[in-house]
Every structure is written in structure tokens, then in C-alpha cells.
């Protein structure tokens, strides 16, 4: 399925407008320097931004919305196409799948949301300040969990087909408008862009540790570093909320034995408290450390996939200016 197709941006927008009849389409729209996934309509098709990382919300918000009834999981009226997904978020879906689609218990709401999504990944042509995916071995272009990859070069949209779903969608687009096969030179241009961005990432983050090997560092750290770095933490939970791989939730009862899932975070007081009163995470610094232990020590012991993708959103979201990269540098250099 190593296949590229191309079309002009104008024709692509025409095709998207037609696809709106059959799909809900979500894509990044920008405000100033920032951007986020928005539901696209005819008027906003032309405002979609391409190949610029990264939407404020992680991809997980499509699979694990902030609030969702987990008993009523009927099919949606339309499937949805999600455009502009950066590679870090696509890789982040691995751990979500391992947890929510495990061998014993398949989560029906998650499965439905996952199955009903066509994922269009996006090559990153630029970088944000805290992007550091390569320290996790993730490249700044989609390699997994996606149906199509999309690159806009000058005024041409290039699509790379990565799955049956992707092939089907390209066929539908081909029914709307004429598709071309890109030339070798054009493909080379896409690959050159990828290489340049990857090199830039490596250069920028050369002092950061290899994050796939930091578990021992954390496991053997004393309390001091956690107390130091959590000094400005206010337990707001923004780091976990915005994290593409934090997946904890609360189940709340609704009449009729229904259940509503609300996303939750170990950063909030009382997260592990039991009715009898015991609370292993009563102290703030322990909650703060818990998230790191979970990502770098416990999840790697239990799952194959990494529980952090180097997207840097937790650093950007922290009102206490806590940088996980600074914390690791300090641990690493001790």
C-alpha cells in the first residue's frame, strides 16, 4: 500500500466539501500562534491549517471525551474524518489501545469511537517550542495508527495511503475529483522535508535523555526532586488532561443503571482515597511523582507501548511553569 496520490489544494477543498455530506470532519483551525481541532463546515474548509504541529487538544479527546455515557454506545449518524494529527498523537494511541482494547475487557465506547474514526496523519513541517518526540524514538511524520498521511507542499496536497480505510477514502475522493500520481521528485521533496524537520528536532533536543531509558533514574530517585519540582504545582491536573496518554477516569451512576465516564487525573486530591479513609496519594508531591512513576516505571513494566510521546503539551499547560524536561535533565546529570 505504499501509494501516493496528489491533487491541488483547491480540488482537495472541493472534495472535502462534498465529503461533508457523508462524514463529520475535524481539522486544525488556528488562532494566532495556537490551533485546535474544530468541526469543519463549508465555510471553514478553506481555513484548515496543514502540517503545523500541534492541535491544543490531543487525539485522545476523540476516543475518550471528557464525558461520555459508556452504557449507551449506539452507532453515530456519520463516521468522522480527523485531519491534521501529528505523529506524536498517533503513537500515543498505542497505549490507549492496549488499555482500552485489552485481551480480556474491551471498552465498548472507546472501541466505537476508534472504529468510527478515519485518521489522517500530518507530516510536521514546522516545530513548536517543546516538541521532543524523537527522544522517544517517534519521528515527526506518521508511521503508525493512521489511514492516510497528508502533506501540503506549495499548492499541492499529497496523500499517502496507509490502510484499507485510507484506500477507501481516497477512492471516494477520486470519485469526486481527478487524482494524480506524484512524480519521484515531488515524493523526494516530501521526504526531504521530513528529514530536515527530524534533524532540527534532534539538534534542538540533543541534551535531553533518551526517554525510553529513564525508568531506572526515576525509580531510584529520592523524595527531594519531587518535592522541589512540585513546589509550584497546584494539583490542577492540566498536565494529565492535556496528555495524549493519560487515560484515567471516574465512573458516575445515572438513573437506569447507566454510567457516565468523566476523565480524571491522579493529580487531583483523593484520586486513590478509599471509603475507609486511607489515601496513598494524600501528599501533593506523591501525586506529582505518581504521574512520572506511572509513565516511566509502571506502564513500561505492564505494557509494550510508551506512555509519553514527547509532545510537550504538559510543559505548555503547566501554570506552575514545571518542565518535565528540566526535571529529567536534573535527574540525569546528578
Amino acid at each position: 500500500m505504499d501509494t501516493y496520490r496528489s491533487l491541488s489544494k483547491q480540488e482537495w477543498e472541493k472534495a472535502l466539501t462534498q465529503l461533508l455530506n457523508h462524514y463529520h470532519i475535524y481539522a486544525p483551525l488556528a488562532w494566532g500562534e495556537n490551533q485546535d481541532y474544530e468541526r469543519i463546515d463549508e465555510d471553514s474548509v478553506a481555513d484548515i491549517i496543514y502540517n503545523r504541529p500541534k492541535p491544543a487538544s490531543p487525539l485522545k479527546t476523540f476516543f475518550l471525551p471528557v464525558k461520555e455515557n459508556v452504557i449507551n454506545t449506539e452507532k453515530s449518524d456519520k463516521k468522522r474524518i480527523i485531519l491534521g494529527i501529528p505523529s506524536c498523537d498517533l503513537s500515543g494511541a498505542n497505549i490507549l489501545d492496549e488499555i482500552y482494547l485489552d485481551d480480556v475487557f474491551v471498552d465498548p465506547a472507546y472501541k466505537k469511537n476508534r472504529d468510527e474514526s478515519i485518521l489522517i496523519g500530518s507530516d510536521c513541517h514546522t516545530l513548536q517550542e517543546h516538541c521532543h518526540c524523537t527522544t522517544y524514538g517517534i519521528r515527526p511524520y506518521p508511521e503508525e495508527n493512521h489511514d492516510l498521511t497528508l502533506s501540503l507542499v506549495e499548492d499541492t496536497i499529497f496523500m499517502h495511503i496507509n490502510s484499507d480505510k485510507g484506500e477507501q477514502l481516497v477512492r471516494e475522493i477520486g470519485n469526486i475529483t481527478q487524482l494524480s500520481e506524484p512524480t519521484e521528485n515531488e515524493i523526494q521533496e516530501i521526504l526531504d522535508k521530513r528529514k530536515a524537520v527530524e534533524e532540527e528536532l534532534n539538534r534542538r533536543n540533543r541534551d535531553l535523555p533518551n526517554y525510553n531509558a529513564t525508568g531506572d533514574l526515576i525509580n531510584s530517585s529520592g523524595d527531594e526532586i519531587w518535592k522541589k519540582y512540585s513546589e509550584t504545582c497546584v494539583s490542577c491536573g492540566a498536565c494529565a488532561t492535556i496528555c495524549p496518554t493519560c487515560t484515567c477516569f471516574l465512573l458516575l451512576e445515572r438513573p437506569g443503571f447507566e454510567k457516565v465516564r468523566h476523565l480524571d487525573a491522579c493529580q487531583y486530591p483523593g484520586f486513590e482515597k478509599v471509603a475507609a479513609g486511607e489515601d496513598p496519594l494524600k501528599e501533593l508531591y506523591k501525586r506529582f511523582r505518581n504521574r512520572y512513576m506511572c509513565k516511566y516505571v509502571w506502564k513500561p513494566e505492564k505494557f509494550e507501548s510508551t506512555a509519553c510521546t514527547g509532545c510537550g503539551r504538559c510543559i505548555e499547560a503547566c501554570i506552575g511553569n514545571i518542565s518535565k524536561n528540566e526535571l529529567f535533565m536534573e535527574l540525569y546529570n546528578k
Binding site: V70, F249, F257
Partner: protein
Amino acid sequence: MKGNNIYKPVKAKVREVIDESPTIKSFVLEPERKFYFKTGQFIEVALDGIGEAPFTPSSSPLIAEQLEVTVMKTGHVTEKMHQMQGGETVGIRGPFGRGYPLEKLYGKEVLIIGGGCGFAPLRSLLYNLEAEKEKIKKVTFCYGSKNPKECIYEPYIQKLRNINEFEVMRTVDDADETWTEEVGVATVLLDKVDVNINESVAVVVGPPIMMKFSVQKLEEMGYPDKKIYLSMEKNMSCAVGKCGHCMMGEYFVCKDGPVFRYDEIKDKPDIWK
């Protein structure tokens, strides 16, 4: 469980509410279809529109038509449960997790230490061992409670005492004039037990502080960590290893436990909290 919605409960009628102590009640539940569980596995009981909480059934795992949970009034859901009179419909999900390792108890002298409402899951185990008593050498059950009024399942204690292979020892923290057994925390009973440790496996269930000191005592007595089993109480909300509330190190207590061998968990953080 594949194919079913893992969050959807089976309805069950509350057939009987039994006062066990001033703070503990048992609820006899009749599910709308047969409900099978292994001793030590837990279920989630949902009160419609109110909340859901995990309990390990206190009834015999050999009976599928009815099951029983014994509940201490400690939180939001259990308080509402204590207001039930019988006749209500609740939801039950499960069974979940890993129960007591019966096959490891066969042929052994089983030392069981229970504290307070920790007797509830242990009664299920005792029922099971009672039914299979030819498979075990003997059972020594040590039970500790706050005071005589909080000692639950009195009739069952008397019944067990009439079975040759079963020995029951009890203690209370605060005795009154009616109390004729031991006084002190549960570990005082361990000074008096007569077990061949090399032939023995221990099971401990109770409040965290009681489990902590019981395990210390068992280690002093010479029990290897691999011969000590504990049932851990954590905030098991989803019960299917997803919500994250019951994580203990890399374990999801709901899925990997709630029964653990002590050596599996001894190095995990804050296990007694």
C-alpha cells in the same frame, strides 16, 4: 466478557438484609440469572443513580442462585446501602479479578487471619474450604475485632467450631464482661496458634494496619513471603483495569488482584495506605 458491555450490570433483587453489627449489614442478593464467582473475586454493586462500590461476596462460591455481600458503613454508597430494607433492585457487575489460590491451599495447614469486616470475603473462603475439607489438613482461623458487638457471623463461628478440621480463635481490642476469649489486636492470636509453618499457607484480610502487623508477625514466625496471601483494598472503580484508581505500582488491583502473594507487592509504594 467479550461481546458484553463491561460496564453494564445484571439486575439483582435484595432478598434479605441482615444486621451483623452496629456498623455492618449483610445483603442477600438474587441476580436475574445465575451468577458464578470464585472465592476472593469481587463484584461491583450499583445503586441506581447513586453510585457503585466493590465488594467481595461473603457467601459460598458454590451457590449461583444467590449471593451475599457484607458491608460496613464507611462511605457514600455503603451508607445508602444500609438504608435498604429488602425488596430493592441493585445492579451487579463481575466477578472480577484474581481470588484466593485454592489449589495452593490443598494439602496444607491453612492459617487465616481476619480483621473486622475482612471476615466477609474470608467467610466465602471458609465455606469453600468447608465443602472441600478432605483436601486440606486443617484450618486455623484467627479473627480480631474492635469489641464483642462488632464480632460478626456469630452463628457461623459456632458452626465452624464443631468441625474437626477447623479451629477458630478470636480476640477483641476492647472486651466487656460477656467476652471470654482473647483481648488485644489480631496478632496476639498468632502467638497462640499451633501450625506447622513448613506445611502452612497464610491468608490475611482486614484493615491495612492489621494486615501490616500480621504480615510482620508471620514473617517473624518464619512464613516465607511467597506463602502469605493478602486481599488488597483499593479504590476499584471500573473493575476492568482501565480507570487507574486502584493502581499499586504496575498492578491494577482490580485485575491483577485483589488477592496477591506478599512477595508480589511488598516493594510497591504505600501498600498499607
